[in-house]
């Protein structure tokens, strides 16, 4: 039933290799800065791709995706917060920070899904890339809101009363959500893809496009992510059974919402619907963690990092993507 051939693509295999390398305690190590550099490259590449495609579609088509993306970014973290505090009795500050991660997205998971689809020659709508860019930020706002609500409920007086720290104000934190490096790169590159002359864009595409070196770079990046994910396994015991389970159930919840949104609300193809499911199912590890570390210092970073990188990311890459794709084909059945 479960079709393993979806795993036999380099992106997934390199992820597994990195995971394995870490499990057998190899001394394999990426030099400081390498994966940060690869991340910058990937975000620019995906942004350019999105922008070039966007320039082709008409705006009225795209507007639905934008609305859907914002809605997903607001709804999923609220659901996550509900599950965490009500089912799991997770502390409110931790729950706020974790929830924000699930409302945002993981670009690497998205790209792995793209690689998965392309290996099967499945087309997808390019709006999904806009959704990726848009979904980076709203969840951060929800996270800030949940945290300040939680603080009031817990009688903490948090950031705002601190005279010495203007960065702690809500306005500043909001600005952080939109000036995060990843967000700026994605949106900026998308804009460049839209407005640059097509002749001049052709000159840079061997570097950034999927016909060029993009997919190879992605593989190398996933090798590194595999090592990072495996490293987090040691934390499983510390974060506990409930949270590990949450890290696998929450993507499924998100995926269902995403599938419904993609198929019924946006009327996308199988490929597009799969990608929306992946967006809703994935958890951020680029834009959201620093925002939460800054804005919700009361939350334990081990919890959200272990969940996003150590549980949900591997779950989506290995099990989730083929599953969501399967589900999307059923919807079209």
């Amino acid at each position: 039933m479960f079709d393993f051939s979806g795993l036999l693509i380099p992106a997934v295999l390199f992820f597994m290799l990195g995971f394995l390398a870490s499990v057998i305690r190899s001394d394999l190590k990426f030099p400081e800065g390498m994966s940060k550099g690869l991340t910058i490259y990937l975000l620019v590449g995906i942004g350019l791709f999105g922008g070039i495609e966007l320039a082709k579609v008409d705006l009225s088509e795209a507007i639905g995706s934008v609305v859907a993306a914002i809605a997903l970014g607001f709804i999923t973290p609220l659901i996550a917060y509900g599950i965490l505090t009500m089912v799991g009795k997770v502390g409110r500050m931790d729950a706020s920070a974790i929830a924000a991660h699930y409302g945002s997205v993981s670009a690497a998971t998205f790209l792995t899904a793209v690689a998965f689809l392309e290996a099967r020659h499945v087309n997808f709508e390019s709006h999904t890339v806009i959704m990726l860019a848009i979904m980076e930020s709203p969840a951060i706002i929800v996270g800030l809101f949940l945290a300040s609500m939680s603080r009031r409920m817990l009688g903490l007086n948090g950031q705002s009363d601190d005279k010495h720290n203007s960065e702690g104000t809500f306005g500043h934190l909001l600005r952080d959500a939109f000036t995060n490096g990843g967000v700026v790169l994605l949106f900026g590159s998308m804009l460049i893809g839209m407005i640059a002359t097509s002749n001049s864009l052709d000159k840079i595409m061997p570097f950034f496009s999927k016909q060029g070196i993009f997919m190879g770079v992605l593989s190398l990046f996933l090798l590194e992510m595999g090592m990072e994910a495996a490293k987090r396994i040691h934390e499983f015991r510390k974060i506990g059974f409930f949270l590990v389970g949450f890290g696998m159930v929450m993507p499924l919840v998100g995926a269902v919402i995403g599938l419904i949104t993609g198929h019924y609300f946006l009327g996308l193809s199988v490929g597009g619907t799969t990608l929306v499911a992946v967006l809703a199912a994935s958890a951020s590890y680029i834009a959201v963690p620093p925002a939460m570390r800054m804005a919700v210092p009361e939350a334990n970073p081990s919890l959200y990092l272990t969940l996003a990188i150590g549980v949900t990311f591997p779950f989506n890459v290995i099990i989730g993507i083929p599953l969501y794709y399967q589900a999307a084909t059923w919807l079209f059945g």
Binding site: K29, E167, M227, I286, P297, P301
Partner: protein
């Protein structure tokens, strides 16, 4: 050579909170600080330095004895609010007193 007694404050923390620490240096140390890339291990597990979220920095300030306390208090306030860090102070002798003057006020 004549040397002058100063204090060296060393902080190790997640790279994500760098901007907060820079702010402290600007407010209490005339903008003087040095940052070293770092990784490490502690209560929160291993910080491998590979992803941004997994990187530490060491934040160093050479400060005057008389500025020390308010810097430490600023750090303490951060810690109380939940920011994870370790911080220690060393006795040092500096060359060139004029580089580490009083903060403008």
């Amino acid at each position: 050579m004549e040397l002058y007694a100063k204090k060296v404050v060393h902080i190790v923390a997640s790279a994500d909170i760098e901007s907060r620490l820079v702010k402290i240096a600007q407010e209490y140390n005339r903008g003087g600080y040095t940052i070293y890339p770092a990784r490490g291990g502690g209560d929160l597990g291993v910080q491998s330095g590979m992803l941004d979220v997994d990187s530490n920095i060491a934040f160093m300030m050479v400060v005057s004895e008389k500025d020390l306390d308010q810097i430490l208090q600023a750090l303490d306030r951060m810690i109380k609010r939940g920011y994870q860090m370790i911080a220690y102070v060393l006795d040092a002798q500096v060359l060139r007193r004029e580089k580490f003057g009083v903060k403008p006020s």
